[in-house]
Symmetry: D2
Subunit: 240 residues, 4 copies
Amino acid sequence: MADPHANAPGPIAANSVAAALRRACADDWAAYVNHAFVRRLADGTLATASYKHFLIQDYLFLRQFARAWALAAYKASDLREMRAASQTVDALINQELQLHVETCAGWGISEDAMAATPEARANMAYTRFVLETGLAGDLLDLLTALAPCVIGYAEIGARLAADPDTVWDGNPYREWLELYSGDAFQEVGRGACAQLDRIAQARIGGDVTQSPRWAELCRIFDQATRLEIGFWDMGLHRET
Amino acid sequence: MADPHANAPGPIAANSVAAALRRACADDWAAYVNHAFVRRLADGTLATASYKHFLIQDYLFLRQFARAWALAAYKASDLREMRAASQTVDALINQELQLHVETCAGWGISEDAMAATPEARANMAYTRFVLETGLAGDLLDLLTALAPCVIGYAEIGARLAADPDTVWDGNPYREWLELYSGDAFQEVGRGACAQLDRIAQARIGGDVTQSPRWAELCRIFDQATRLEIGFWDMGLHRET
Amino acid sequence: MADPHANAPGPIAANSVAAALRRACADDWAAYVNHAFVRRLADGTLATASYKHFLIQDYLFLRQFARAWALAAYKASDLREMRAASQTVDALINQELQLHVETCAGWGISEDAMAATPEARANMAYTRFVLETGLAGDLLDLLTALAPCVIGYAEIGARLAADPDTVWDGNPYREWLELYSGDAFQEVGRGACAQLDRIAQARIGGDVTQSPRWAELCRIFDQATRLEIGFWDMGLHRET
Amino acid sequence: MADPHANAPGPIAANSVAAALRRACADDWAAYVNHAFVRRLADGTLATASYKHFLIQDYLFLRQFARAWALAAYKASDLREMRAASQTVDALINQELQLHVETCAGWGISEDAMAATPEARANMAYTRFVLETGLAGDLLDLLTALAPCVIGYAEIGARLAADPDTVWDGNPYREWLELYSGDAFQEVGRGACAQLDRIAQARIGGDVTQSPRWAELCRIFDQATRLEIGFWDMGLHRET
């Protein structure tokens, strides 16, 4: 099967498990990484109200996501994987969340106000799907459910950085673009790909696409990708 | 606080925990039990396509719900509660699911086709919220998340049975009305209320509405009620 | 590797996953199925005090084991597996537990007294290992941890039934021997073997002993087998 | 009820939940904090072989304990508690574990050799009890199961520091004594007491000893204390 994303810039290495998962849901992946919300971030035309709505929901999302990485630390039987997962929890709650808090503070929105905002339905659907997949399955199921977020945001950042149409000067979302296209986040994305490869080898081995688990792993990855699309939709249309 | 539902027919006893939870989210509860989807079931005007869409999603829902009751059996430390939860699993997978399978078979929709239908987003949001709430919290958190479904459907059945506007003769949804207003399901609803009271006493005791946990229990119950509204919306508008 | 148990009577079919797991821990398996506690049940020489101590601890064990099978029902993504696990919960709490209650009642030990007995350390080590293995891993990890108990007791029952040295007439433990050598329990053992084969195929496929997971599955099975030995020791020596 | 430990030095504040739990299992607590293993550490007479056996098992223990704190981070619904739990994971896997690795390296025992050592039964019983209690219950159940370890080691350290019979000069276990009596570990102990108070207030409130949950919390705390005694026994007698 041809992979229209095979040459996309970003963290996904050619022969990685992530590359095979992306290939298996190429249309949904395209809808995710090229979503109108992303294009309007890139050209600076996104409505401020949509961005604020998105950022507050993303704050709530990241809190759940930190819980999911803590769950990954619990599920890891190996110290290396525990350390990797635990560092991600730390980065999420002490760095990425803080950026959202600071940006929102600039608009006069306090962290308490953010924390008190009800989670949008698309937000709940995504985070609880990831958490429950991880609780019901093993570490590989959990990392597969987590992959579209961290790997996808890094790919989106890299795509926008490589895209001549991306507007940098005067773009109100330049900070967002710089965060996700920056070296630090690209490294996070590559780390997540490498971890997924390691755990897939440890739990399946060989050509993972030949495993009877492969169809289920593709389903999990695709489901999470579709829930990412739902998250962009939620931001764009300010859905609650 | 006045409770506009205090005299509603159905399984919720006056001084039960369920009555207090319902009172705490009275508006969302009203929107749930009086939803347009319910009213059109009652007068027989619901579009067949909406009902089919709902029933297939409800089939997928019940499979997840059976998992949630199995989780309740795991979380119960007491044999009586394990038996109650285990009997619910049995009733869901051997009776309620079978009714859906038979009804759909009458339309030429096989169980395999139902099982292969992608879960609608509103469906995932609800089921994964319930499961994850139960995994993160204790048995009381889980039963509170489960309550709006089983107790609410019994109240809806009892309300429709008591409502002179309900159309019985020639109503294509008469089987649905009879199932949820029937004695067997009313007994299931009363049993769920009684179990919630028992576990709330065991984990909190006294006047549970004075507990520091009460706000969180209300939030869980309200969230699940709003996700039930989302489920009716999904059926009515055939959302995917 | 030669398997000294290859021709043992009982539920383990020649080419099953259970046969391969047993082969991988042949010495521990031998120590388990031929334990002095078992031999003294077979010839009727076990001290009554040891049997009572064992039976009360086994009552507490079965409650935890029923929780573990409820967890398996939660972890199963397939209706067939949910039904199988759910029926096991039902059999454990409504049949096997009842037999223990009746036997102990014959000695004047009430169910309340049994339930109030502190769990012996060997009991806790085993049950919590099984439960936690299942929570951390997937359904295959859980079923592998559960296998030595249900499959092993069926093999022990079959071995004793085939053994000319087994004393039946006047053996005070004849009821125990009949239960585990009987057709019903042999069928339960064969069912557990078949389920393990199905789930191993679904999660690994092909020759499961060639999977990178195989070493870990052997470790889980061996660990549970050693904890079974600890349980016999606990009964024999009335350890708390 | 008089509390023979009420004036013990260490992290447990007079009116804390930890003080009430300790009071409820005063005899088991005394057997834990005054265990022969502890006394022989304090006077330097513990057999080196027992200490090595203990330290390797403690290395395996701390890996499971880090998983339990990762689980606490998952179970925390509040950022402050997530940070506290996540920092504990970090301290365990990056500091406390490293000390064990360095000490054992001094004896020519590599980390790989430690990791490959089978877990002693007493070790498994304790760690899996804590993990499973946390998975079945809520954050308060989990923190109660975790408390005897972190709070107890700090109390032991403080008791030994205050005890004129403790031998410091030439004691081969001086490093151990300094670690657990030192300011840093005392602060960890006080932090764990304060967190337990916070979560008990959030989940129960008021006088927690009047809650219907209190008996179960005492049971969990006592069980974990008895499993700590079992861990010292295991070290002293080099049990496997």
